[in-house]
């Protein structure tokens, strides 16, 4: 399996020391359950990132929600990597139910092909993702299969240009 790690490598750790027990349990059990499908990208106090294949995104999200109570999406975004011809999609999952996980955010990342950008929607697992996915569809041109409204949201109605957050969309004068 090819390594699709974050190409920018690891980050130095400047945050305070916190108990990492629960969070590393999450990572461990997730990797055990879906052994080949999940890769750990980094683990820091209160933040970790796992990389999932796009096919297994939905089942991993469902597992994380049902087992650990990661019940809402703090943020969701996409990033264009033209050099690798891929778009990375990040779901930042947090928990309101599980009090131990209040300060913790798990970055669930997946990548899709840049030319035919299509990903599975997590709207049935996290309803809070609805507007975030619509925004990502519009800003990066990633179609979300299963999302009821892949349609313009923030941009003007007559927008007829590239999705603006792709790197080949250039700003005038910059």
């Amino acid at each position: 399996m090819e390594n699709k790690d974050n190409s920018f490598g690891q980050l130095i750790d400047t945050s305070k020391d916190l108990d990492n027990k629960i969070t590393s349990n999450i990572i461990k059990s997730a990797i055990q359950n879906f052994n080949q499908k999940i890769q750990l990208v980094y683990e820091k106090p209160n933040r970790s990132k796992i990389f999932v294949n796009n096919e297994s995104l939905v089942e991993v999200a469902l597992f994380l929600r049902n087992t650990y109570g990661l019940d809402h999406v703090e943020s969701m975004s996409g990033t264009d990597f033209p050099a690798e011809n891929e778009i990375e999609i990040n779901y930042h999952l947090g928990s309101y139910i599980n009090q131990d996980l209040h300060p913790y955010i798990l970055n669930l990342a997946t990548r899709v092909d840049r030319e035919n950008a299509k990903s599975n929607s997590l709207i049935n697992i996290f309803p809070s993702v609805e507007y975030f996915e619509r925004e990502t569809y519009e800003m990066l041109g990633v179609y979300f299969v299963g999302h009821p409204r892949n349609e313009p949201f923030l941009l003007p109605e007559d927008w007829a240009d590239l999705p603006p957050l792709r790197k080949d969309f250039k700003l005038k004068g910059r």
Partner: protein
Amino acid sequence: MSTLDDKINEINRLAIQITKDNDDDRLMNLSIGPQHPGSGHFRIVIKVDGDYIVYADPDIGYVHRGEEKMSEHRNFIQNIPHLERPVIHDSTNIIYSYSLAIEELIGINPPRRGQFVRAIAAELDRLVYTTYWLAIYGIFLGHSTMFMWPTGDRELIIDLLERMTGHRVTHAFSVPGGVRNDIPYNFKEKCLTQINYFEKRLKEYEDIFYNNPLLRQRTEGVGIMNKEDAIKLGVTGSVLRASGVPYDIRKVEPYDVYDEIDFKVQYMKSCDTFARAYVPYLDMKESCHIIRQLLDKMPDEGSVREKIVGNVKAQPGETYRRVESGRGALGYYIISDGSTKPYRLKISTGSFRNILALPFLLVGSKLGDMPAIYWALNYWPIEADR
């Protein structure tokens, strides 16, 4: 041969056809905003059946300026002034989490006194924003005194911030590495006087506004969002806390000096519009309490900023940092490729997350309840559009 029954049936059939209610005919479409005086820069398309709303679709983006794209073309310091534009009244908080994220990426720590000054500015900005929000909420519900009072008292806090930062709004005060300048001479005493006065006024707000039978009637039991729904919709800030979830980033994930401050997370369990309108008020009281402690614990000497050069390079990597703003969690997800500019910057704002609850709350409620429900969501259109 047709019997009488057949004839009656035939008449009934025809009658039904003639007067048959077509859903599309009965429903009326309304488009409210984006230039409606009450809506802010925000449009909502609703369908009403008589007096009841059966469909609501927020159409945001009227003031979208592409902050995220702009950030990719400016260095870490140049990004500060334009990133605070989405919420000019709460500009310290929106830059606070940006500063925290950049500090983590660059690998610096602000001096202790700088952390205190930054927290004081953030709390004062929270007061400025919330008084403004409260003033608009007052005029929304036809209570013009509640528009005048907070607008007037807000000036006192703005004066403090002006002494502190040099600007009334959009201070660009918090920077990666601390704050831009030290607080002026005599600020502590002045701040305490103003805060003490403001707290007295808060008591009067409660008497004239929150205990007003008209307000109570229009908000109590209106727009119920129970705990499960609030969690499902992923709302944040005062909207979440009004639904009985005591979740405040300052408490659950303390940043800077908030772990040394003693304060309570204000929340209510009634889950209705009144709770959503009252929790920000409780937050203001708590903010006064926090500011007093911050002033008390702040070291008298020391620098307030660890200076970085304008075109400083960040380490390659990524970070997600968040703070509790006036409208809930405000997070920055920044990816750096090791250059002087962010490779990708994503702002996750409370307004953008809370607006998802609006269709949920509006469908089934009366059209007349719409202003009360909408503005109690603590929604700032520009922050949602970015």
